[in-house]
């Protein structure tokens, strides 16, 4: 009887472990942070599966709110989100890793206008014009330009004649390139990555200003995620730059690698958000 009980316990334990490892890890992606390179995502997913030896699912959502919502619902384990999205949901999430771009886990915001516009020198020259945002939860594509306006003593809601969202960094470039918007902000990483593959589109825009560096949009994990899954995923991401397959993927992502995320890097964003809320 003792033996039988012991056997049953072993069996239950084994099956429990097996079921935990065979359930997929879900990774959320939005066009606001990563380009819609579905073939690349698939290769990355396969890479992660091989490294983690368990299924990985990439869940693509149109906007950041949806990804955050899914994470709160525990339907996402990881997500690559914007800094404001992380800060707003700090209670429910933890930082997993930050991409390294040009050797640093930093990014910049580019203010772009159509190439035909040779007059605009700063964001303030776009008063009464049509401006395109990325996403209401985007740092570079929403918070940053609005913050600049506030600093300049302008009301971001009245400053422009009309604003609209594209939910996608690259579509901001397209909207500016075709002249639908008179200006927009986009992350330097996104603009430079696009310039590598579609210089014809970026060529139709002109960079007016570049913001000071800020923390690169991080990859966050659900706070309720098992520490083991967290650590394993972090290990795999951080180890990509030391692995030929990982390097190849990083090259396609136009990144140098991933590093551990430091919450301090996102403090300035947090301050900005606080300032905007207080306004």
């Amino acid at each position: 009887m003792k033996h039988l009980l012991r056997l049953l316990c072993v069996f239950l334990l084994a099956s429990g472990t097996a079921s935990a490892d065979s359930s997929p890890l879900r990774f959320g992606i939005t066009p606001a942070t990563a380009r819609n390179q579905y073939a690349l995502f698939e290769d990355w997913r396969v890479y992660l599966e091989q490294k983690l030896t368990r299924p990985v699912e990439f869940v693509v959502r149109e906007n950041l709110q949806e990804s955050i919502f899914l994470m709160r619902q525990k339907k996402l384990d990881f997500a690559w989100v914007s800094s404001p999205a992380y800060i707003e949901n700090k209670q429910q999430t933890t930082l997993l890793a930050t991409p390294v771009y040009h050797g640093q886990p930093l990014n910049r915001a580019f203010l772009i206008v159509p190439a035909s516009d040779t007059h605009t020198r700063s964001l303030l020259d776009l008063k009464g014009k049509i401006f395109v945002y990325v996403d209401p939860m985007s740092y570079v594509g929403y918070l940053e330009p609005r913050y600049q306006l506030v600093l300049a003593g302008e009301d971001p809601d009245q400053f422009f004649k009309k604003t609209f969202f594209t939910r996608d960094q690259l579509k901001v470039v397209a909207a500016v390139a075709v002249g639908l918007a008179d200006g927009g902000t986009i992350s330097g990483f996104a603009w430079e990555t696009l310039a590598l593959s579609r210089p014809d589109i970026t060529g139709q825009t002109r960079i007016v200003a570049k913001s000071p560096p800020y923390g690169f949009p991080p990859i966050i994990a659900r706070r309720t995620l098992k520490q083991r899954d967290f650590t394993r995923m972090q290990g795999v991401l951080l180890g990509m730059s030391a692995d030929p397959a990982g390097i190849s993927l990083l090259k396609r992502l136009n990144l140098d690698g991933f590093t551990t995320a430091d919450e301090k890097r996102y403090r300035s964003v947090s301050v900005m958000m606080q300032r905007m809320e207080d306004k």
């Binding site: 009309k162 969202f165 909207a175 639908l180």
Partner: protein, 483 residues
């Protein structure tokens, strides 16, 4: 025009037909092309309507959420997709109910929030037309002198309109599509012409040919007898057929009249000659009888020398020959009252047999008389004799002479045929004149005498060539001629 109207029917009929075919083909082609053009316009409008309809629903929700980018993506995608279609979409503009541009596929031309009427004068006109549109309606607008046409449809749901969709099409698509269809139409027209025109030409020629022949024959009428019309050229009973018939009747009449005239002239000449000959014969006959009687008296005197006797005999023979000749000319007087018997005809056969035997002729004899005929036997025998002697003389060595005697329609018919030399039409007209001979050794009085006798008996004598092989003399004598 006069030049054309003066042209021969040979050209006029095909030219008229060709002209009519050309006009018909062009009219039919033009109407097809016009119809095609209208169909093309309708098709393009329908395709444009379909495009508008497919966009409206998505645009409504995008406008409702003020999602400019989505609206832009919807119209950009539609514009790109339509490029592969027949309708050429130049641009798409979405305006709100205040007629301000919400979004456009060409944002530089139609800026966001700009009033439609301020874009350009054409859009100002469109703006006016939109105001007149009823809710839910869609329509196509063609502006004069514009390179575009505009398809408008209201963006609405549940009777709530959020704006208007304006699809700007280029008219440039019309011409190539229209030209493509028009070329097709013209090719078919040309093909029809290529078939019909030669057919028309042949038909016209065929129609004109009988008319031309008729005209040609009629033109010859004044100068000579025209050849007969080809009876197979036109065998139908329409107006032209009746014209042919009338022409043939007319020609027959004219020929009969001409024949009659010639016969009258001939018989008048023969009558005059007969009178002259009879007069001269009488005048000669009287002194001749006297001279012969004197010679006869002189011969009774026995004291005449041998030389005188010889001379007298010579004169007597000469005078007798003159008498014979004169007697031959003088066909009158004694009419034998005896009626013609069957045997009289057979006697003639016996009489000619020695002569015909010399030439080894084949005599075909057919006497169908069955009873006595009330005609003077002597004259009939002389006629038959003369005709047969002539025929025997004319017939070739070992040739053929045929004789047919019979009664038909109260007339005695004598027909004598030989296979000798053919006489020409000219010779035939002079055949019955005295001293006309076409054979050696004849004095040319036989047929003259025959003619005179026949004439006196109230009959007719005709000569004709039979199959260009036989000369046929036919005498017709009415029965019961007073002897």
């Amino acid at each position: 025009m006069k030049f054309f109207m003066n042209l021969s029917y040979r050209y006029k009929i095909p030219l008229w037909g060709g002209l009519l075919i050309l006009i018909s083909s062009l009219t039919v082609s033009a109407s097809f092309i016009l119809n095609d053009y209208n169909q093309l316009v309708r098709d393009l409008e329908m395709e444009s309507d379909k495009l508008g309809y497919s966009l409206k629903s998505n645009l409504f929700s995008a406008l409702l959420q003020d999602d400019v980018w989505r609206a832009f993506e919807i119209i950009s995608e539609a514009s790109r997709r339509a490029g592969s279609n027949r309708v050429l979409v130049e641009s798409i503009i979405v305006i709100d109910n205040q007629q301000r541009v919400v979004v456009s596929t060409q944002p530089r031309q139609a800026r966001m929030l700009v009033a439609l009427k301020n874009i350009d004068p054409e859009f100002a006109e469109i703006a006016t037309q939109i105001k007149q549109m009823e809710g839910g309606a869609s329509r196509t607008i063609y502006l004069p002198h514009s390179k575009h046409y505009y398809s408008l449809s209201s963006i609405e749901k549940d009777n709530t309109s959020l704006g208007t969709l304006i699809i700007v099409h280029s008219k440039a698509v019309f011409l190539p599509l229209f030209a493509e269809n028009a070329w097709q139409g013209l090719w078919i027209g040309a093909l029809i012409l290529a078939i019909l025109l030669p057919f028309n030409w042949c038909w016209g020629q065929r129609m004109a040919r009988p008319l031309l022949q008729l005209a040609e024959r009629m033109a010859q009428l004044g100068n000579k007898w025209p050849e007969d019309l080809d009876p197979h050229l036109y065998e139908y009973r329409d107006e032209l057929g009746r014209l042919y018939e009338a022409y043939n009747l007319l020609l027959g009449d004219l020929k009969a009249k001409e024949l009659l005239k010639n016969r009258m002239i001939q018989s008048e000449r023969l009558a005059a000659l007969g009178q002259l000959a009879a007069g001269i014969a009488h005048e000669i006959n009287n002194p001749l009888c006297g001279m012969l009687m004197a010679i006869d008296t002189l011969k009774c005197h026995s004291d005449t020398s041998p030389l005188t006797k010889k001379t007298i005999s010579l004169i007597e023979r000469g005078l007798t020959q003159i008498k014979d000749t004169v007697a031959a000319l003088l066909v009158e007087g004694k009419m034998n009252t005896r009626h013609l018997m069957i045997q009289d005809i057979e006697d003639v056969l016996t009489l000619i047999s020695p002569t015909s035997g010399k030439k080894a002729l084949h005599i075909i004899w057919h006497n169908s008389l069955t009873e006595e005929v009330p005609l003077p036997a002597t004259y009939v025998r002389q006629i038959l004799m003369n005709l047969l002697m002539n025929a025997i003389k004319a017939a070739a060595q070992q040739g053929e002479v045929a004789c047919d005697v019979g009664i038909n329609n109260q007339q005695l018919l004598i027909s004598v045929r030989n296979d000798g030399k053919m006489l020409s039409a000219e010779q035939i007209t002079r055949l019955f004149e005295p001293f006309t001979t076409f054979s050696e050794g004849g004095h040319g009085l036989g047929l003259w005498v025959t003619y005179q006798i026949v004439n006196q008996l109230g009959g007719t004598i005709t000569v004709n060539r039979e199959d260009d092989k036989y000369m046929n003399f036919t005498v017709s004598l009415p029965l019961g001629t007073p002897a």
